[in-house]
């Protein structure tokens, strides 16, 4: 792919300070701060209605903020004009269903004043090379998602912004997109992706910003988030749950009884020691299942606690 427009090197690919957006009486963004360091994959997380899509629309200049400052690749964002070097999609990517995938890309290339030279390469890169002549109306949602990514890559972006990029993709597609995003970051590009799945962000991102009700409730590197996360929760079933519970209390392991077994909350080393102790006491472990990753629990704690 040909390079995007020549822009100065920047420390932060995105910087938003106190970004506010209201739709009538509804506050979509209530002073959001966001920093995406250049050369990283950053996750924008939050439950439905947290303000993720509104923030992404503002980044693209599709929506005008009521207050706050926003720069993309070092340049202030002007409403009605997509910043140079930025590409991606907001909501699910949409195309003209009566045109082929390739024709749609040719149209978008023309709108970017680019030739068609890169189209084959991006189609190959997103795995649509054999289906580009089909009308988009015949595409599955996963194929449209791939076409959306192809349309973004066609712009040769320095910052790729993707709204729920793995929606509708099969596991192989999710793996491919993960690899592609990491390649892009390794080449010096930056990626901002929104998601409401913590596991997806944990797998793909270097850093995350978590929104709740239009406010930033956490921002930092994934490692920092992991360190702050509570102990993992597991469901334990043994041959003698009463004895297992008693032993947990003696060892200071957090255990509560449930209908289907014991809910155990412990860090990995403590859990391993507890399970070994159970075995040495003649209590067999019939099942030990993780019921929620530490990061997911932190995500829920951050996004569900009362405002």
């Amino acid at each position: 792919m040909s390079a995007g427009p020549t822009l100065p090197a920047v420390d932060d690919a995105v910087r938003a300070d106190g970004l506010t957006k209201r739709y009538g009486r509804t506050v979509a963004l209530a002073g959001v701060d966001l920093t995406v360091p250049a050369g990283t994959v950053h996750g924008l997380l939050g439950p439905n209605g947290a303000g993720k899509t509104t923030l992404l629309r503002t980044l693209f200049g599709l929506s005008r903020p009521d207050a706050g400052t926003l720069t993309v690749l070092g340049e202030p964002v002007v409403a009605g004009r997509t910043p140079g070097g930025l590409a991606g999609f907001v909501d699910s990517p949409r195309f003209y269903p009566y045109l082929s995938g390739r024709r749609n890309l040719e149209l978008l290339a023309a709108y970017d004043r680019r030739g068609h030279d890169d189209i084959d390469a991006v189609l190959e890169r997103v795995g649509l090379a054999g289906r580009d002549a089909d009308r988009v109306s015949a595409y599955s949602s996963g194929m449209r998602q791939r076409l959306g990514l192809a349309a973004a890559l066609l712009r040769g972006p320095r910052l790729l912004v993707l709204d729920e990029p793995v929606n509708g993709l099969d596991p192989a597609g999710i793996r491919d997109i993960g690899a592609l995003l990491r390649d892009l970051a390794a080449d010096g590009g930056s990626v901002l992706l929104s998601s409401h799945h913590m596991a997806e962000a944990e797998a793909l991102c270097d850093g995350v910003t978590i929104l709740r009700a239009g406010r930033t409730v956490h921002a930092g590197r994934v490692e920092e988030l992991r360190a702050a996360a509570p102990a993992a929760a597991h469901l334990l079933r043994t041959t003698d749950d009463a004895a297992a519970r008693a032993m947990a209390e003696r060892r200071g392991v957090d255990v509560t009884e449930q209908d289907d077994g014991l809910a155990v909350r412990a860090h990995r080393a403590d859990l391993d020691a507890y399970v070994l102790a159970l075995a040495s006491d003649g209590i067999a472990v019939r099942a030990l299942t993780e019921t929620g990753s530490p990061l997911s629990q932190l995500f829920f704690a951050l996004t569900e606690e009362s405002a």
């Binding site: 739709y23 899509t53 629309r57 693209f60 200049g61 599709l62 929506s63 005008r64 009605g80 004009r81 997509t82 140079g84 930025l86 590409a87 991606g88 999609f89 907001v90 909501d91 699910s92 990517p93 949409r94 195309f95 003209y96 269903p97 009566y98 045109l99 024709r103 149209l107 978008l108 023309a110 709108y111 970017d112 004043r113 349309a151 712009r155």
Partner: protein, 270 residues
């Protein structure tokens, strides 16, 4: 150059759509069907201008088609594209796809407007040429009797018919601009298509009312009758000039309002 890029792709998008191609095909075929029916009928549409002469001269047929189509069909056919040209992006959800590229909203809008106006011109040209060809080939090319009883030679008749059809181009462009405005305001294809058509019918109804002449002159539909002066014994072109000026104002106002609506709009994906 950028406007031309947007214009070219809007034309490509239009020609790829079945309903647009079907409308263009109907403009070519319908006059032949209409003229064939006139030929096999014993009666003539004598309550329509030139209707009584359709069995006498093939040049009367395109004039009857002109009168019929300008009553409601032409605004509807024009609005099929103009009334949907912006709303289609809402229907397909493609505004963010288009507006996150390098072209500005103004450029995208200009490309769409040019495409809608082009379609309106093509429609009028197709209808005019097809109805003239159908009239002459099916009903013959005998001289045409004008509105004040003057007999026009076949050559003069052909020129007058084409001039009459050309004279409806300005109000046709006015309806295209009105369609674009409805499309921008309603963001809904059916509303964008039916809005100008209904407004056109209301204008027609007003023309039957004994209202102020200035208001009547300011109506787009009045321009559809400006060609009458061409077929008088002493031709006059004043109404055509007025119609062109009125249509230009309609075009300018509607397109400016449509642009302001698009420029101020928040693209929310709703």
């Amino acid at each position: 150059m950028r406007v031309l890029t947007a214009y070219r792709w809007e034309l490509e998008k239009l020609t790829a759509q079945v309903r647009v191609r079907a409308a263009a095909a109907a403009c070519v075929l319908a006059p032949f069907v209409f003229v064939a029916v006139l030929r096999i009928q014993d009666t003539v549409p004598s309550d329509t201008l030139f209707g009584r002469w359709v069995h006498v001269s093939g040049f009367a047929a395109p004039m009857v088609v002109l009168v019929f189509t300008t009553q409601w069909a032409l605004p509807l056919l024009i609005s099929l594209v103009a009334g949907d040209i912006l709303a289609a992006e809402d229907r397909y959800g493609t505004w963010p796809t288009l507006l996150t590229r390098s072209l500005t909203r103004g450029t995208v809008y200009a490309g769409k407007v040019l495409a809608a106006l082009t379609y309106a011109v093509v429609l009028v040209v197709l209808l005019g040429l097809a109805s003239l060809t159908a009239g002459v080939t099916v009903l013959g090319h005998d001289p045409l009797v004008g509105l004040s009883g003057t007999l026009f030679s076949p050559g003069t008749s052909a020129g007058l018919v084409l001039s009459a059809w050309a004279s409806v181009l300005p109000p046709a462009l006015g309806f295209a601009a009105l369609g674009v405005l409805f499309s921008a305001a309603t963001r809904n294809g059916p509303a964008g298509i039916l809005g100008p058509t209904v407004l056109g019918l209301l204008m027609q109804v007003y023309s039957f009312v004994d209202g102020p002449r200035a208001v009547r002159s300011a109506l787009l539909t009045t321009g559809f009758e400006a060609w009458h002066g061409l077929f008088a014994a002493h031709p006059y072109r004043g109404p055509m000039v007025t119609a062109a000026a009125v249509s230009a104002v309609w075009v300018a106002v509607c397109l400016a309002a449509g642009y302001l609506l698009l420029r101020r709009r928040e693209i929310t994906g709703d």
